[in-house]
């Protein structure tokens, strides 16, 4: 609210005024006291005929003034408050005591305390005593100052102060109009002029202490009433005083008598008050008018704000199309930088050249018809951008008869472009129907065509399907940005903007598309600009990444499948990182083979898992594969495992390259071939054994066929000779023939007999028994007792207790044949000797039969054990004996060999028997 002129609050603060009043009171009081002290009458009563102020009164004023001054300015300080209270109380008490003296006719002696006053002074009942009204006033003022801070009693306090002022005003006015009149009221009103003035001041001072409260607040208020009060107050006081004074002066000078004077006075009062009221009223009216203006201005600002913050352009044109007024949105539509570039200018300045004519026609039409609805026009900015506007205008007529056109303009560019694009799209499709459709329509790829501004022109079925659209109408004219999820739209706008400005835009990018139902899906878009039907359009190929994601899912599934195959294949499969050869994959078979858990294997290298030399071997092979890139087959490698001991594995190592062509992993596939290898070894041994047997059998049959046929040839041939010799009766020849036949048949019989023995060794074994070496040897010697004795051979047999375990009969045959062989091959030895002994070699025992006979050429040392092998054609043996011995020894888990220094050096046959041991034979119970 605007302030009214003449507001007192603007000039002197009320409390300062109260302070000044207090200080004046103090000054007055002190001056009078000084005057009393030095007897200066003029200072006491102004004029000798006037009543002088009493010393008590001066002292009381000093006290009251001090109290007022302190209250006005220093009431914040507690001591000041106490002093102020004490002074006020003293003032009130002084007034009360003085009053009591008047009322009860007493003399308390207080009047002369300060100064002696001679009796009979003007207007004084008792010497030095103040007037009764003065005493009463001091009581009022003192009480008011004492209670000044009590806000609840503000009205009585102020009333008391006011009463004191009014009571003092009367003598003052009396002095003004001539002191004589005061006599009429008696001594009670006999107050000095200074006292009266000071009381009026004190009264005002007390009122000003709390101007916002009580009586004074109505004057202080910043309202019409306050203003009126402040404005009229001085006149209400001043006018009657002035009129009364003039009236009195005129009467006293004899210009008119009392009734006329009264009439004059009344009329003067009336005129003056009327003038006052008239002036005040005019001032009030003016103030009200200003308030209205202010309100209007505020309203205008609000309207402006409103107008400028709407999207709708608002413009007022005069009849010539010149802008009278326009809002901010209109300025923007017009493409102007400042509103000044619009107001005062013609609309044609920003109307597109091709639209000016129709615009002018529309203005004319509007003027004629009074309004125009949905008129479309185009504004063109300085940079050439065209804005499409829809206008609704109304014509108004000003009082002076001039017309103005009020228009509301909306920007319809987006809508217009969409419609236009739709039109172009149709044209495009028409023009290229065969080519374009064949190419695009049924393409399995989602294809959308957009104009450079990003508006849809066309989309194929796949595009519509992917984006969940019903038909082409959902695409044509729609900004591409709307196909993106809201949070990706800003990006899309930026791409469109950059594309339209020819700035580089990624040809392919990923984003998230949204369907009309709100569902979103990841997409990859490739956008390229092509020339189509005389215009450049952007073709967007859209790939639904969620399908790719599905493919990824499928890939993951197939990976899982592969993983489960890898995991369950009964081969150890492992993958190592190429760079540090640490395990990254290990399958179950691998875990089982190594006897370790996957978690203990992964991230480790061979060095941490295998003995150093094995780890070094593995890693060397790994490096070889990684370096050459050629897969490696390691047929056999030992592998020390935690739980399964040493295993033999067949490993294939393959280098796996990453998509960048660099070696990334080493794949290893290992097969545990330990069992297979053992089996193979067993089979090999068995096979060797069978081959040996087979060879033996072959040799056997061959030998049989030869060695049995040989005597047969002899027998049959000599039987032929015998026949012939018998016919020629040649007795000698017959005898010779018979000898040959007999020799041959004997040989045959022996061969057959020994063959039978030999064949028994293989399959007819008696249950193994324990027998001492000496027992066996003794039995064999017993069987050979005849030949030994005949040849005179000395036989020496070791006496160590040795236990042999096996087929007793066969063991006897071993010694029998060896001893027999030794006896037969003694040759011409003069002191034939045979030693049967035993030697220890490590844990095993080696038996020997040594003779000092003809010996054997070392060249034939293996041959002699062959079946039917006879070194000496003339010897009696058949060549079966040593073959038989060899057979028996082998059946008993031993082996036999012959040592000889050569012919004439004797020979030693040595053999081992697996279950032979030192010690005595356990006698069977019973």
């Amino acid at each position: 609210m605007q302030r009214l002129e003449g507001s007192s609050t603007g000039s002197v603060p009320p409390r300062t005024a109260a302070l000044v009043a207090g200080l004046i009171a103090i000054a007055g009081g002190v001056t009078v006291l000084v005057a009393w002290l030095f007897d200066i009458p003029v200072l006491m009563s102004v004029q000798p005929s006037f009543v002088a102020m009493k010393a008590n009164t001066a002292a009381a004023f000093t006290l009251a003034g001090l109290s007022l001054a302190l209250r006005a300015r220093f009431s914040r300080f507690a001591p000041a408050r106490w002093v102020a209270g004490a002074c006020a109380a003293a003032t009130a008490v002084l007034g009360l005591l003085t009053l009591c003296q008047y009322l009860f006719g007493l003399d308390l002696g207080i009047d002369q305390v300060l100064l002696q006053e001679p009796a009979g002074v003007v207007g004084t009942l008792a010497p030095g005593r103040m007037a009764s009204v003065t005493a009463f006033n001091f009581l009022l003022v003192g009480c008011a100052l004492l209670l000044e801070r009590d806000h609840r009693a503000m009205l009585p306090i102020q009333a008391a102060a006011l009463l004191a002022g009014v009571l003092s005003l009367l003598p003052l006015v009396g002095y003004l109009y001539g002191a004589s009149m005061l006599l009429t009221f008696g001594h009670h009103l006999q107050v000095s002029i200074i006292t009266g003035g000071l009381f009026v001041l004190m009264s005002l001072g007390v009122l000003l202490l709390h101007p916002a409260e009580g009586l004074l607040r109505h004057f202080i208020r910043d309202s019409v009433g306050g203003w009126l009060g402040r404005r009229l107050g001085p006149f209400v006081i001043g006018i009657p005083l002035a009129v009364g004074w003039i009236w009195l002066r005129g009467e006293s000078l004899g210009y008119f008598d009392a009734p006329l004077g009264t009439a004059f006075a009344m009329v003067a009062m009336m005129i003056l008050f009327a003038c006052l009221i008239c002036w005040s009223a005019s001032r009030l009216n003016l103030a009200t008018a200003r308030q209205r203006e202010e309100a209007l201005r505020v309203g205008e600002r609000q309207y402006e704000a409103l107008a400028n913050n709407t999207d709708t352009g608002f413009v007022v044109l005069d009849g010539n199309g010149i802008v009278v007024s326009a809002n901010e949105p209109y300025r923007r539509l017009a493409g102007a930088v400042r509103i000044e570039d619009v107001i005062g200018h013609s609309v044609t300045e920003w109307t597109a050249p091709d639209e000016r004519e129709s615009n002018a026609r529309a203005v004319a039409l509007c003027a004629a018809r009074g309004s125009i609805q949905d008129f479309e026009t185009v504004y063109q900015h300085a940079d050439g951008t065209r804005t499409h506007i829809s206008v609704n205008a109304t014509v108004g007529t000003a009082p002076d008869g001039r017309i103005h056109i009020t228009s509301f303009c909306r920007n319809i560019t987006v809508r217009w472009l969409a419609e236009e694009a739709r039109g172009r799209a149709e044209q495009l499709l028409l023009e290229n129907s065969s080519r374009f459709r064949a190419f695009v329509e049924q393409a399995p790829v989602a294809i959308g065509v957009f104009d450079p501004a990003g508006l849809g022109l066309y989309a194929n079925d796949t595009f519509l399907r992917r984006l969940g659209l019903q038909g082409l109408e959902d695409v044509v004219g729609r900004p591409a940005v709307e196909f993106f999820a809201p949070r990706f739209r800003e990006e899309s706008r930026e791409r469109t903007r950059r594309r339209s400005l020819g700035l580089p835009v990624p040809a392919s990018f990923e984003s998230v598309a949204v369907r009309p139902d709100g569902s979103e899906f990841p997409v990859q878009l490739s956008v390229s600009a092509i020339q189509l039907a005389n215009e450049v359009v952007n073709i967007a190929f859209l790939t639904d990444l969620s399908e790719t994601r599905l493919a990824e899912e499928a890939l993951r599934e197939s990976n899982q499948l592969v993983e489960s195959i890898v995991d369950n294949v009964p081969l150890m499969i492992f993958v190592k990182e190429a760079k540090d050869l640490r395990f990254v994959t290990f399958n179950k078979a691998g875990e089982a083979l190594l006897g370790l858990d996957r978690k203990d294997l992964l991230g480790k290298s061979d060095r941490e898992l295998f003995p150093p030399e094995q780890a070094a071997f593995f890693m060397a092979k790994d490096r070889e594969v990684l370096d050459t890139g050629v897969s490696l087959d390691i047929p056999e490698e030992p592998l020390l495992t935690a739980r399964n001991g040493e295993r033999l594995v067949h490993t294939r190592k393959v280098c796996i390259k990453g998509t960048d062509g660099r070696t990334k992993y080493l794949l290893g596939i290992s097969e545990d071939i330990t069992e297979r290898r053992l089996e193979e070894d067993r089979l090999k041994r068995m096979s060797t054994h069978l081959e040996e047997k087979n060879a033996e059998l072959e040799r056997f049959t061959y030998t049989i066929s030869h060695d049995l046929k040989s005597p047969l040839v002899t027998v049959r041939t000599f039987l032929g000779y015998l026949q012939r010799d018998l016919q020629s009766r040649d007795a000698d020849a017959v005898a010779e023939d018979i000898d040959f036949v007999l020799g041959a048949t004997e040989k045959m019989a022996r061969i057959l007999d020994e063959l039978l023995q030999l064949s028994r060794v293989g399959y007819r074994t008696n249950p193994p028994t324990e027998v001492s070496l000496q027992e066996v040897v003794t039995e064999a010697l017993g069987l050979l007792a005849g030949p030994i004795a005949t040849r005179g051979v000395a036989v020496e047999v070791a006496q160590e207790p040795i236990v042999l375990t096996g087929d007793r009969t066969r063991l006897v045959e071993v010694f029998l044949n060896l001893l027999d062989n030794a006896v037969k091959n003694m040759g011409e030895q003069a002191t034939p000797r045979i030693v049967v002994g035993v030697e220890s070699s490590g844990d095993s025992l080696t038996f020997f039969v040594r003779d000092n006979g003809i010996g054997i050429d070392p060249r034939y040392k293996d041959q002699i054990f062959n079946l039917f092998e006879k070194l000496d054609p003339d010897s009696a043996g058949t060549g079966v004996g040593l073959a038989l011995v060899k057979r028996i020894v082998e059946v008993h888990g031993g082996r036999i060999w012959m040592e000889s220094a050569g012919p004439g050096q004797g020979s030693t046959f040595r053999f081992t028997l697996s279950r032979a041991r030192r010690g005595a034979v356990m006698e069977a119970a019973g």
Binding site: V713, R716, T717, G720, G743, D857, P873
Partner: protein, 152 residues
Amino acid sequence: MSTVQPFLILHVEDDPAHAVIVRRNLAGTQGGTRLNLVKDGRAALDYLFRQGVFCDPESSPRPDLIVMDLRLPKVDGLEVLRQVKQDAGLRPIPVVVLTTSGAERDIRDAYAMGVTSYLVKPTSLQEFTQMMDAFRRYWLELNHLPSRPSPL
């Protein structure tokens, strides 16, 4: 003193009965046929290479033909054959195997070693006699051999 040397056959045979049969069938032929008998492979090699007891060329003259059994004590017949055929001086001497074995393996091995002829001993006197007649007729009448260098 006849200037015609008798046809000398080195007979290697461990079976004395068979040696007798051969002797009886080859003895008494015209032009003179001489049989030198050794009983094992070792002795045959010693004879041919003039070693040991056969170091005297007089007692062990170079034979015109070797008749040999295959199964021989000490050194097998095939081994003897191999050594004879490896020696440049002995290689021209034809070697006829006369054995009881008609085994295919033996025949193949013998020819592989360079045997000249392979005969199997028949199991009847008649057959034996016929075979030896054919033998004699072939080797002594039909077949030509390089002439022996005359000893000094």
